[in-house]
């Protein structure tokens, strides 16, 4: 079964790779199987992990009857499949949107604004406020300046309510340079990531399947 499985996996791997040559029936078959299998995967996993384990056992074994409300809201969501009464799905949708919005206000404000701003407003030439001036290494001091200036000017660049001219324009210019270097780094990491995924698949083909790699 293991060897048969490897051949099946190789068939599908090569099928997807065949897209590099051109869009062809082999690729399309693989693509369709991928769509069906992944939809089915989610369907089954969510049934056992959520509907069965959380809801059914929650009510039947743990007596948590509040879960019925969740189940009703869930059913209302599924009613979207019936166009005539599909509008009912807005209720659970409203619940999800409201909950997410409420949670995001706090989470993003606390972690992505407060903590980040606090960590940017730090001494430039010392590692902490209680340390003497120039106690930080030159490497760290330059780094601190880059982070403070880069963050501030980057934010100036995103501030569109005032025209980017004069002093504001100069700041925005430094901001865009910082952001461009950031995007360059992101591009480098993206290349790294994509290559890693390909390496993984090629390792499967030449290693696991063909066993040509030592």
């Amino acid at each position: 079964m293991q060897i048969f499985g490897l051949w099946v996996a190789a068939f599908f791997t090569l099928g997807i790779i065949s897209f590099l040559y051109k869009d062809n029936p082999w690729y399309k078959v693989c693509e369709s199987i991928f769509v069906g299998i992944s939809a089915g995967y989610w369907f089954v996993t969510l049934f056992w992990d959520n509907i069965y384990s959380l809801f059914y056992l929650g009510v039947a074994e743990r007596g948590n009857y509040s879960l019925y409300v969740g189940a009703v809201l869930g059913l209302m969501m599924l009613l979207r499949l019936i166009p005539q009464i599909g509008w009912i799905s807005r209720w659970p949708l409203a619940f999800v949107v409201g909950a997410t919005a409420g949670l995001y206000i706090i989470n993003y404000f606390a972690s992505n604004i407060m903590v980040q701003v606090e960590n940017t407003l730090t001494p430039l030439f010392a590692d902490a406020f209680n340390q003497p001036t120039f106690s930080a290494s030159v490497y760290n001091s330059i780094g601190n300046i880059v982070v403070a200036v880069g963050t501030f000017t980057g934010l100036v660049y995103f501030f569109f309510s005032k025209e980017h001219k004069g002093f504001m324009g100069g700041m925005a210019k430094i901001g865009i340079w910082t952001i461009m270097i950031t995007f360059g780094a992101s591009f480098g990491y993206t290349v790294m990531s994509r290559m890693s995924l390909l390496i993984g698949r090629m390792d499967f083909i030449f290693g696991d399947w063909l066993q040509l790699i030592k």
Binding site: A10, L14, S18, L20, Y21, N24, P25, W26, Y41, W42, T45, L46, D49, N50, S53, L54, L57, G58, R62, A99, L103, N107, Y108, A110, S111, N112, V115, Q116, E118, N119, V147, T182, A185, S186, Y189, T190, V191, M192, S193, M195, S196, L197, L198, I199, G200, R201, M202, D203, F206, G207, W209, L210, Q211, L212, I213, K214
Partner: protein
């Protein structure tokens, strides 16, 4: 259609030949490896000359070079020194500081497409935890995550040093499985793990598992390691578990996502970061447990060099073209 069938048959024949006729395994000697490298370099110079003459090579040629850059290094005997970056060392140091018996929460928030980057990290992490006698609680915010964890554990147990430890399910490690709800799952775990995971991955009730029976919430966790490929993942863990409940957390991310984790790292919200396959290789080096991360680094290096070469070729052609245009004007 006829042409397609011909190509499919050719692929099948090549596959059968490689499978049955080629002696296994293939390994190039250092001399052959260097000859191959020189040949690739010559081919790139040829492309460079053609490109500056205004004849851009087709995309399939670029694809071919990428394929060669990734595959050929598998057979080469080339070693490269790997340098540790500070963010990787932080993860290693944080784990090494834990006393034997400490509880580590490992959230597997990724699926197979990201496995080449994150699976080597997972395997090294398990090997280190087993060596240090740490208790691991596995879970996932992605449905495929706990299944990837199982695969990593199975692989880890093939290493003699891990197999000899007699690491027992339920006592030394548990897999709580997956639950929907993204950050809401983390938030609920802040007050009660059991409410989100009433049964583990295998359907065993939470209270029947000796390892987690007394684990109520994050306050019972000594360190957390998150393997993340997107949403929900490290960002949500930082926002809820770290900033709200004070969990100590390190993370391993796909390279695509790793760049956006640096602000959290600098702010101390993350204790260490492994970024992409390179992060995995560095982590293997730090732990002195060589694995797929290190093995794949040669291919990774070659593929980066090929992309850089193509960028240089493209830009050289662009600037020479611009110069010619100016001269004409």
């Amino acid at each position: 259609m006829k042409r397609d069938m011909l190509i499919y048959s050719a692929i099948l024949i090549i596959a059968l030949l490689l499978y049955f006729a080629v002696p296994k395994p293939i390994a190039f000697s250092p001399t052959v490896s260097y000859i191959v490298i020189v040949l690739i370099a010559v081919a790139l110079i040829y492309i460079f000359i053609r490109t500056i003459q205004g004849k851009y090579v087709g995309r399939r040629i670029v694809f071919l070079f990428v394929g060669i850059a990734v595959v050929l290094p598998f057979f080469m005997t080339v070693t490269q020194p790997i340098r540790l970056s500070p963010e990787v060392k932080m993860v290693y140091d944080a784990i090494m500081k834990l006393k034997p018996g400490s509880k580590v929460l490992a959230s597997f928030d990724y699926d197979p497409p990201s496995a080449p980057e994150l699976q080597p990290m997972a395997e090294t992490f398990f090997r280190l935890c087993i060596e240090r006698d740490l208790k691991v609680i596995i879970m996932g915010l992605w449905p495929q995550g706990p299944q990837q964890a199982e695969m990593a554990l199975r692989k880890t147990m093939t290493f003699p040093e891990a197999a000899s430890k007699n690491y027992k399910y339920g006592v030394d490690y548990v897999n709580l499985g997956f639950q929907t709800g993204n950050e809401f799952v983390i938030q609920r775990m802040g007050s009660d793990f059991k409410s989100m995971f009433p049964n583990d991955y295998y359907g065993t009730p939470y209270d029947s598992l000796p390892l987690v029976r007394n684990v109520k919430n994050f306050s019972n966790i000594d360190y957390s390691f998150n393997l993340s490929a997107g949403y929900p993942g490290t960002v949500e863990w930082v926002q809820v578990a770290v900033d709200r409940y004070g969990l100590q957390m390190g993370t391993g991310n796909t390279a695509v996502q790793a760049t956006s984790m640096y602000p959290y790292l600098r702010a101390g919200q993350l204790i260490g970061l492994l970024g992409g396959l390179n992060g995995a290789a560095e982590f293997e080096k730090a732990c002195n447990k060589l694995g797929k991360g290190t093995k794949f680094m040669v291919s990774q290096s070659f593929s980066h060099v090929i992309v850089i070469a193509f960028i240089i070729i493209g830009n050289a052609a662009f600037f020479l073209g611009e110069k010619k245009k100016r001269e004409k004007e």
